[in-house]
């Protein structure tokens, strides 16, 4: 074993002694869950031996059932983008409940700046603004959306940093405010008929492309930059962070802004994919985003977790959702089972922490 010893203290720098990364556990869990569904497909009599993961009918040119894989990834991509931001908030020791309604509010607003003038030669029946807002360059709705997200995030972060109210309360308030904004914007009317360039943002597999790109960006931010290090430090020991000279208040505002901008971007992708925005969009998204992070090993007490974990958590989430449909589980039971899984993930996290403390 390669081992170097320094000085009188017998100081070792032995990379093989690094602790087992939690991400591997989540990956193993993912494999096990896939295996369980695969087994259920063989065992359950009404399944006729259908495979969950593999292409048994020769429909595709690969060994996998590509249609199912695509659906799984596509299903989680948009909430996954939100969970990238939620991950950062939770690592910093906070929580963001406002992301679901923020998706709805942002989608409504953004879509109003992305409408096309003529639908099949007729005037746009869902027009929100006058003729000046038709057929704008695609950059304008994107900028409007990100600015709105940054604005909401700045309010969230400032409330939490400067008034010291619990993040749960601040973002719960924002949850209602955003849902209200979404409904008020058009008095409940959906906003539809975007320009072609806007519609291409979320077309086909584009949500997955955005998810992957943003996941890489967020991973780099958290792992390799001062911003990331301070996010972990604040979530781990806020007093220590403050005494070390970190501007904790400013940093918290920044974290919530980034999270809300990611949620706003998810809204852009989602409204583009659906070609419409409705005030009821994003229902439970905030909870699913938190669930993905928690399943992915992000600790609700702050300081621990990673983007890789959250991406794996999103995959677990998607596989379970898709698996439930595959074994023809009733939709009502699916939501209940999802709730049970979230509770289970938090209990597991609690156990992990207690074990870590017990090592003293």
């Amino acid at each position: 074993m390669a081992e170097t010893t320094h000085g009188t203290g017998g100081l070792k720098y032995d990379s093989s002694k690094r602790s087992w990364p939690n991400e591997i556990n989540i990956f193993i869990a993912l494999v096990i869950i896939v295996a369980i569904f695969e087994a259920l497909g063989q065992i359950l009599p009404y399944m006729n031996g259908q495979s969950f993961l593999f292409d048994t009918n020769g429909r595709f040119d690969s060994i996998f059932n590509e249609a199912r894989l695509q659906i799984i990834i596509l299903q989680v991509a948009i909430i996954g983008i939100i969970s990238l931001g939620v991950t950062q908030v939770i690592i910093s020791g906070g929580i963001d409940l406002s992301s679901g309604p923020l998706v709805a509010a942002t989608a409504m607003i953004v879509m109003s700046f992305a409408q096309t003038e003529l639908v099949n030669g007729n005037p746009n029946p869902k027009a929100v603004f006058g003729s000046w807002a038709f057929d704008l360059p695609v950059l304008i709705p994107i900028i409007v959306g990100l600015a709105f997200g940054a604005f909401i995030g700045a309010i969230n972060g400032s409330l939490i940093a400067f008034t010291r109210i619990p993040p749960f309360i601040a973002t719960l308030g924002m949850f209602l405010i955003c849902r209200g904004i979404a409904q008020w914007w058009t008095r409940g009317q959906p906003v539809s008929f975007p320009t072609d360039s806007y519609a291409s943002l979320g077309a086909g597999m584009m949500p997955v492309v955005w998810f992957v790109l943003l996941a890489i960006l967020c991973h780099v931010l958290l792992r390799y930059t001062v911003y990331g290090k301070h996010t972990y430090a604040i979530g781990s020991n806020e007093d220590a962070a403050r005494m070390s000279g970190i501007n904790v208040k400013r940093h918290k505002v920044m974290v919530y802004m980034i999270a809300s901008m990611l949620a706003a971007f998810a809204a852009i992708v989602l409204s583009s994919k659906n070609l419409t925005a409705q005030s009821g969009m994003g229902l439970f998204y905030e909870l699913y985003a938190i669930a993905m992070a928690v399943i992915g090993g992000v600790s609700l007490t702050g300081g621990r977790g990673s983007i890789i974990g959250t991406v794996l958590g999103a995959m677990v989430f998607g596989v379970i959702q898709s698996g439930f449909t595959y074994v023809k589980l009733d939709a009502y039971f699916q939501i209940m089972a999802m709730g049970a899984i979230i509770i289970g993930a938090v209990v597991l996290d609690k156990w992990r922490q207690q074990r870590a403390v017990a090592r003293f």
């Binding site: 930059t225 007093d239 005494m243």
Partner: protein, 257 residues
């Protein structure tokens, strides 16, 4: 350059009506190790909090490194070169050793990226190894998180911070209070290393053996005032206890009684 690294004149701190610290006049020479002793509530920690900028004194002056200073926060004191190891360890559990050493003062690359500038992990790890070597601190692996370390190892990490940033004055507030025998010995060894290297130190401790072993001079606090200034060679444990309990007071501090 003056021989005196730290001097306080009539340093006073009132919390409302409570006179926690009253007219503390104190000097520390370069390379000197001084212990501050006293009963609970005698004003030891209050005194340290004024010097390290955690609190601002009600009255009085602090001169550090020849200049009068008015720290508005712990970071300013730290930037001036005063490094404190507190009873409550200011370490982030989920970060590794070098992350903790450099917390708030990271070495970075691509600084034009502002808050998103990149961490220079390699440089920080090299400096961490050098600092640990300098202080003879034993840590199994600097890439392990603090969480999995013993109390002694954590304390050592906190102390190694002082060596990393070449601070001009180290202050330790009961560094071994929560440690076992072996770990205490380890921390004491680090203090001896600092002495050999001529780094000045203020040590707050209740442990008489430790104080007699390690320092040059003992300053005794009682009810918010300094009541004795004793050279180690000219005193013994019983004598110090007499000053702590109030059985004796040095003539020059008679008004403190």
């Amino acid at each position: 350059m003056s021989d005196i690294i730290l001097e306080t004149r009539n340093l006073t701190k009132h919390y409302g009506g409570v006179h926690a610290l009253q007219d503390a006049t104190f000097t520390l020479r370069r390379g000197e190790h001084v212990a501050i002793m006293g009963d609970n509530g005698a004003g030891k920690s209050t005194f340290v909090r004024q010097i390290t900028g955690v609190e601002q004194p009600t009255r009085g002056e602090i001169h550090f490194d020849g200049k009068p200073v008015h720290f508005t926060g712990p970071l300013e004191a730290r930037e001036a070169g005063i490094e404190a190891v507190f009873q409550t360890l200011a370490l982030a559990d989920d970060l590794d050793v070098s992350d903790n050493l450099f917390l708030g003062r990271e070495k970075t690359k691509f600084d034009w990226l502002g808050p998103f500038r990149f961490l220079d992990y390699k440089a920080m790890r090299n400096d961490t190894l050098a600092a640990l070597e300098k202080t003879a601190v034993k840590i199994p692996n600097i890439r392990n998180t603090i969480q999995n370390m013993s109390g002694g190892q954590r304390q050592c990490v906190a102390i190694a911070r002082t060596a990393t940033f070449h601070s001009k004055l180290t202050i330790m507030d009961e560094p071994t209070a929560a440690l076992g025998v072996q770990e205490t010995a380890q921390v004491e060894n680090i203090i001896r290393t600092l002495k050999e290297q001529g780094e000045p130190l203020i040590l707050i401790s209740h442990n008489m053996r430790q104080v007699m072993d390690l320092v040059d001079r003992i300053v005794v606090f009682r009810r918010g005032r300094i009541c004795a200034n004793l050279l180690k060679e000219e005193t013994d444990g019983q004598d110090v206890v007499a000053y702590i309990t109030g059985a004796k007071t040095q003539p020059e501090y008679a008004d403190a009684a």
